[in-house]
């Protein structure tokens, strides 16, 4: 087993497994976020559920570990790959087709997503879980008291001064995430060995659809709130 963990395929295996785990998380997160389009009550109920459901609470530290492992392994592999290339590079390389922009820039795209993640946590997670915010003052929905998460989230994008900038940053990050997924999705299956000439085509198509769903889905929310305002 020790040989597996230190081997190239072993390290990539952990990249894939953590990546697929994060893909699952994205689906849950996106589903919850789309409630923002349906108005304050729906989103607040969803947000209350996410904040109190025991399974979600257990998954939170697991998710953090997933992110950290994915980032650590990505860094180790990228550094090894740069070293493997040797000291002298080619003076001229024709990217002769097909190998996609995303596949060649996964670490950079991942880095963009990570830097966004820091901002995202400061904007919402930190305020909800740690510091609190006046916007979060409890509201009564169907006889139950809960935090007004909608006011906090929508407030960021409809802010008259910074709303446009935040919306743009969130939309760009969603696109970067989508690009990361265009390669990441099928690549994860390839690395765990679940691919051949037939399945590769299928997985690539599913990966692109998934990337468009996730990237587009996350990008729509800030743009929608900015354009149509909070309800």
């Amino acid at each position: 087993m020790g040989g597996f963990i230190s081997s190239s395929i072993g390290k990539k295996f952990f990249m894939s497994i953590t990546g697929l785990f994060l893909v699952m998380f994205l689906l849950v997160h996106l589903t919850a976020n789309l409630a923002l389009l349906l108005g304050p009550d729906t989103f607040n109920i969803v947000s209350h559920f996410m904040g109190t459901n025991p399974i979600i609470q257990i998954m939170q530290p697991a998710l953090a570990i997933g992110f950290i492992l994915h980032i650590i392994y990505a860094t180790v592999l990228t550094l090894q790959n740069q070293k493997a290339r040797g000291t002298e590079g080619y003076s001229k390389v024709v990217n002769s087709h097909q190998s996609s922009f995303a596949s060649k820039n996964m670490y950079i795209l991942g880095g963009l997503v990570l830097s966004f993640l820091v901002l995202h946590i400061i904007n919402f997670f930190w305020k909800i879980k740690v510091t609190g915010d006046p916007l979060l003052a409890d509201v009564m929905i169907h006889g139950e008291e809960m935090e007004n998460a909608y006011a906090l989230v929508a407030g960021l994008f409809i802010d008259p001064n910074l709303g446009f900038i935040y919306s743009a940053v969130y939309a760009i990050a969603a696109i970067a995430l989508g690009l990361h997924l265009t390669h990441g999705f099928w690549s994860a299956f390839q690395t765990i060995g679940f691919s051949n000439d037939v399945w590769r085509k299928r997985l690539t198509v599913v990966g692109y659809l998934f990337a468009m769903l996730v990237g587009g889905g996350f990008a729509i929310i800030p743009i929608f709130l900015m354009l149509f305002g909070a309800k």
Partner: protein, 247 residues
Amino acid sequence: MDLKIKAWRQKNANSKGGFENYDVQNITEDSSFLEMLDVLNEQLLGEGTEPIAFDHDCREGICGMCSLFVNGRAHGPDTEITTCQLHMRKFKDGDTITIEPWRSGGFPIIKDLMVDRTAYDKILQAGGYVSINTGGVPDGNAIPIAKIDSDEAMDAASCVGCGACVATCKNSSAMLFVSSKVSQLALLPQGKIEGKRRAQAMVAKMDELGFGNCTNTGACEIECPKGISIAHIARLNREFLFATCKD
């Protein structure tokens, strides 16, 4: 046709190399790329300059000896060929052609455009040969092998070990080569028995020799002169994971 050649010159493994510019005249477009280099070398000999060292052997596209990174592509501007099968009709009169050696930490330069590809031999040695006793020659069709399996094994076996995959890969990964060599045996009954052990041994050697980690960009299969698919890489990953589970 008249051409300008910008070729990498390097005295030996330890010296610092650099590009040199040469002019060649009256090259017919029917000549191969290596013949053009022969003409250039004759010219250099006549001028009292040391000819450019480059790898070549069969010149029939089957031995895998010729290398060369021509105008930014392994084996030059054509698909599914080795450099010896690249013809001058792919270039235009007056073109400047940039020729570089394979560049990879795993393939150190010996001289000029020649690189040391011993690393591939070491990986093959780590894999070993089929060492189980398979008995005498079996009767024809006594061991049925599905057509699809024999075809895939043959596709994998067509790898000539030229190193274009490593040269092209942005990570200098040898996964396409190793996966071909694993697949060509793992798909057939004689090789299947030791398939997992072989995958482990070859991957361990590949890692030890400092080749990079595959990130599935697919650049290798595009430049492979034999058009070997990265589906073999998925098979290698599978073999390796199952081998680890068994241990």
